[in-house]
Amino acid sequence: MKLTGAEIFVECLKREGVDTIFGYPGGAVLPIYDAIFQKPLFKHVLVRHEQAALHAANGYARSTGKCGVALVTSGPGATNAITGLVDSYMDSIPTVCFSGQVATGMIGNDAFQEADTVGLTRSATKHNFLVKSVEELAPTIRKAFYIATTGRPGPVLVDIPKDVSTAVCEFDYPETVEMRSYKPVTKGHLGQIKKVATAMLNAKRPVLYTGGGVIGSPGAAEKLAKLARQLNFPVTNTLMGLGGFPYDDERFLGMLGMHGTYEANMAVTHSDLLISVGARFDDRVTGRLDAFAPDAKIIHIDIDPASISKNVFAHLPVVGDVGVVLGQILKELERRESGPDEAALAVWWHQINEWRAKDCLHFDQAMDGPIQPQYVVRKLHELTKGDAIIATEVGQHQMWAAQHYGFKKPRRWITSGGLGTMGFGLPAAIGAQIAMPKETVIDIAGEASIQMNIQELATAMQYKLPVKVAILNNTFMGMVRQWQEMFYESRYSHSYSDSLPDFVKLAEAYGGKGYRVTKPAEVEKVIAEALKNRDSFTVIDFVVAKEENVYPMVPAGAALNEMVLA
């Protein structure tokens, strides 16, 4: 069967099981858009900015576990996509981005809308390809999906020159991929597994510290829950790991790190065995490195060998898929005759519960005072029964959402962890809502972040997506202001959100529903009303306390146990 490159593109995506792509047309991808028009084998969601295409693909991937797919044009289309690519790279989200490129004969001539996309995205992707002939197209697409979804997942970019899209060749989709230079390890080394089991059974003050790997690896969360319950070990999650362990399990200590709970940070600091599962010892997690878990033996389970001993030395590294490795550990524990050190664990839990009694996330909501942002998040949890898919932008609202929403299972929490991309939440929520049309999807936002991709309200409108945007509006770039208050003697340099639009009118202008909430007593009623609206998107502008800070806080460069509590 002879096909054009553009037709091959469509056929390949179909064979990869792609049901949705997010994109924006332009000159260099016209042949591909024409093929999509003529043979609509999957849904194409038209975004309003290429950055949003990548974030939406990211939201789609995170909510489903499938690979997110984006399609952008050459030059500015590709450069706009870069932030979204780096975002997916930092958070290890499987994504394939296709970009158009000027015709092969024009490459290097500074042609109209030409950019060195492969050069620009080399460090923004797990891998990238320039397809130089139509014969290479199908095998390259096959490899791109394979690389994006296996090992430590990540974004892969495929740059397709316009003449490759129009050239014709025999279409033959490779059934298998074999790459001698890329063979990710999934199973843990058995000798290491045995040592891990022994260390766990001997531990007196263990902590399971789990990250995005538990979300990304199928079945890992169930195995983690089984392991933690069987051994009665406390669990703390990174920002990326939230939902990897049920928030309402008594063994859950909450998030750790810069805005982690007192009990989580104290437990990690005083642990004698820290079991890192699919986490990467990010600086926002560890605080000052020399004071991080100083007495602990460190077990590090990760699919990426380069993550191990990068920031913190791992005494017992295990390279493998965390779901597989947790299964191996459970099996090994079954073979052991003795159980964990219960007497020591009882003492440890007693200590942890003392730390817990500090109630570090406590806040007061006076019914005649300003709305507390935490109160809004708690109410969102209550009225959605903790079952919504929560996306966020970046800043204080993100941390309050992480601290107060409470997640029961994986893939309900979609936040930009590594890169910290303002403007991520709305398009990510759109991607999740496209994937999960029946679910409640809420973007918890700040009034500053939301403006970075506000144009995506039009996308939400076009596809009749009932996405809710809950703006915690404190008229400040709150996290910047908080740092300025704490570390720059309250010199609020350019962190005031001046000239804010009327978000209610803005929502209406885009065709959706808008609410403004100024009193605590109205919070519940308006959320309930918004949740009922399935016909359009809803924006709720919560006017919240202006100078509320996120606590606890570990100042940058301080040790985890040097928290500012309030």
Binding site: S123, M179, P305, S309
Partner: protein, 165 residues
Amino acid sequence: MRHVITILVENEFGVLTRVAGLFSARGYNIESLNVAATMDPTVSRMTLVTRGDEAVIEQIKKQLNKLIPVIKAEDISQTEHMEREMLLVKVRAVDNTRAEVLRMADVFRAKVVDVSEASYTVELTGKANKLEAFLRMLEPLGIIEMTRTGPVGMRRGASGFTVDS
């Protein structure tokens, strides 16, 4: 510490930039980098010289292996290995210094590869310190220009560093 890392990579477009980009993105230094195709034209072999403590070198090796087109990477500096580098040096050679340049070339077993009425160009292969010693001897005579390849290296003994090994 100085480390010599040999790397086998897919011989494809952009692979050198990926390796070089990794070093610049992560703040590692490249002292020298040498690359050419092997007997198997689909595979290139690099010899890369860098500096760093154990943890840094460990991280460099892991990051190299993480690059998709890298087939394997090995730090040979702690093993029995050999290194060779090539130097081309153009030396001023007039009247009384013409004989001196030839004498030096002879002592170092270097080869004269180009002659003109005012210069000799000499080729020398060896370890870095030999090359440096040679350059020191020539310097007073007047070096017009020079270029070095940076070292290539491999382990001693019968075993090989290949795709299948």
